[in-house]
Subunit: 310 residues, 2 copies
């Protein structure tokens, strides 16, 4: 039991930003760095307004970073309704006393693994197209959108080839990355492997923005590749893809430095932070058609890459 | 009490069509014309598989057209689960007996009205930009997406001008059309008025495809207008609009024959037929952010039209 000052971080996500990932990025520093920052000023605990877009009372969790030279003080996130209640209450009662009791703890690291499966190419099996998501999730919900959807979509890509009886010219590799949520060590390990393997990583596609209706792909590549793949848009429109724009591929595939093209699958982002890292991220929150269109979009792109290269 | 053959129409919406409105159009003939067609062959009743995309057991309703020269036989729509059950059952029991008991009836027509409000333009008040939806709905749900969302979005367009303290150069007219659902007589009456008024209908925007995330606008206009408004896309992208394509404006504004441009607001269509014309079409099914982005998209387009004309 420790007594002392508790700091309340209550800055909401900016609702005027169309891209909710950007709004998240603008608010999540409170959860990630709040405790270390407050501890440096002598606080004994931290309460953080959940970084979420749904106005309910479901707390949202996620990574937080302590600083080794500063005491590790407890931190909790509370739902938006509680945050608003607390905020009001503090106006009339600035010396309000609260008690934090936490049962969470950080366990020692344990060995875990990426999951990898190859559908071998018929003509250039040594050229790989990686499709993937990450197989770990925060423990509060089911991790259905983050990133169960992405993992299943990656598996559905090869399943669609199988069901349509298409043998790809290049090898399609499904990679379900481990430990995206608090360290990205699966991604790092794959990146080290990619640096040294004799196999060629032509391109990689990541789905880690939820199982919502497709909007586009971000692409990290040179202009020649961008122009080339933008010419494929008429095909991708059949799966509700309206654009391919410059942008990062994603945290999982980002370490595949030799790939000529890293694609980030971009579904509509308006509902992602309603469920992200919370008890709301359950299978029932995934709409079957929206989800399947994502698989279709990734499968079409994978087909074009495997058939025509870059 | 009548005994005789009952016809079961069980053709599902085509799930491979990206545009669910097209899939709906390809299946709804069963509900609209099924009874008259079956009666012509001597049937005494009709059961129709609900024309909906959500796999639940909630029946979906809508307009049906009898033929004056053929008996008006009863028709019911059943939910998808019941339809699949019945379909299975009929395989083993083709002479299955069912009893239809209906309490619905068609009441005599009653006088009703379009609702119209003007925000007068400062420079060219005689030039109108109409924004609207339809104020009637099927009685099973709350008509939240069809078309409560469209009506409120049209009102939010003028409300956004007010809140931003912008006086438009041209007049913005909100029209909430009556009787879209079974006759479009509100639209016809407005069309007749538009033909004869001294006011100029520059453009009209209709929202009648649900309150989901914005995707684009369809446009009925000549190529000059299309090219002109496509140049506005960078502004519209701020409200999640990715394209403007040729297409109809919509059933409500479609009779404004003198307008230079008829715009149909197009939100994402993947969830619309989960709720359309059913008890599922309730306020809780409207996502606040997705809905508000539609208001924003329509307001930006309205502003550009009112400021720069066509």
């Amino acid at each position: 039991r420790v007594k002392g000052k508790i700091v309340f971080f209550n800055r909401p996500m900016d609702p005027t930003l169309l891209n909710t990932f950007r709004a998240y990025g603008g608010a999540v520093d409170q959860r990630v760095f709040g405790a270390a920052r407050a501890a440096a000023y002598g606080a004994v605990g931290v309460i953080v307004r959940s970084v979420t877009t749904r106005y309910d009372n479901v707390p949202h969790t996620g990574v937080m970073i302590y600083n080794d030279s500063i005491p590790r003080i407890p931190a909790v996130a509370i739902g938006l309704q509680d945050a608003d209640w607390l905020s009001e209450k503090l106006k009339s009662e600035p010396e309000l006393q609260v008690r934090l009791r936490l049962a969470c703890r950080t366990l020692p690291d344990a060995q875990s693994y990426n999951v990898v499966g190859d559908l071998l190419g018929s003509e250039k099996p040594q050229e790989l197209i990686v499709v993937g998501g990450h197989i770990d999730s925060w423990d509060v919900g089911q991790g259905a959108h983050d990133d169960g959807a992405g993992c299943v979509q990656a598996m559905e890509v090869v399943d669609l080839f199988r069901r349509l009886n298409i043998r790809p010219k290049r090898t399609i590799r499904v990679v379900l990355f481990i430990n995206e949520e608090n360290g990205s060590r699966g991604s790092q390990a794959y990146g080290q492997y990619a640096d040294t393997t004799a196999l060629v990583h032509l391109a990689a596609i990541e789905s880690d923005r939820g199982g919502f209706t497709p909007r586009g792909f971000t692409l990290q590549a040179d202009s020649t590749v961008l122009t080339r793949v933008q010419a494929w848009l008429p095909y991708l429109r059949q799966a509700s893809i309206d654009w391919i724009r410059r942008g990062g591929g994603g945290p999982d595939i980002g370490r595949i430095k030799t790939a000529r093209a890293l694609f980030g699958y971009v579904p509509d982002s308006q509902r992602y932070f309603d469920v992200h890292h919370s008890a709301n991220d359950v299978f029932a929150a995934v709409h079957p058609r929206e989800f399947e269109l994502g698989s279709a979009a990734m499968a079409i792109l994978t087909y074009l890459l495997s058939e025509y290269g870059l």
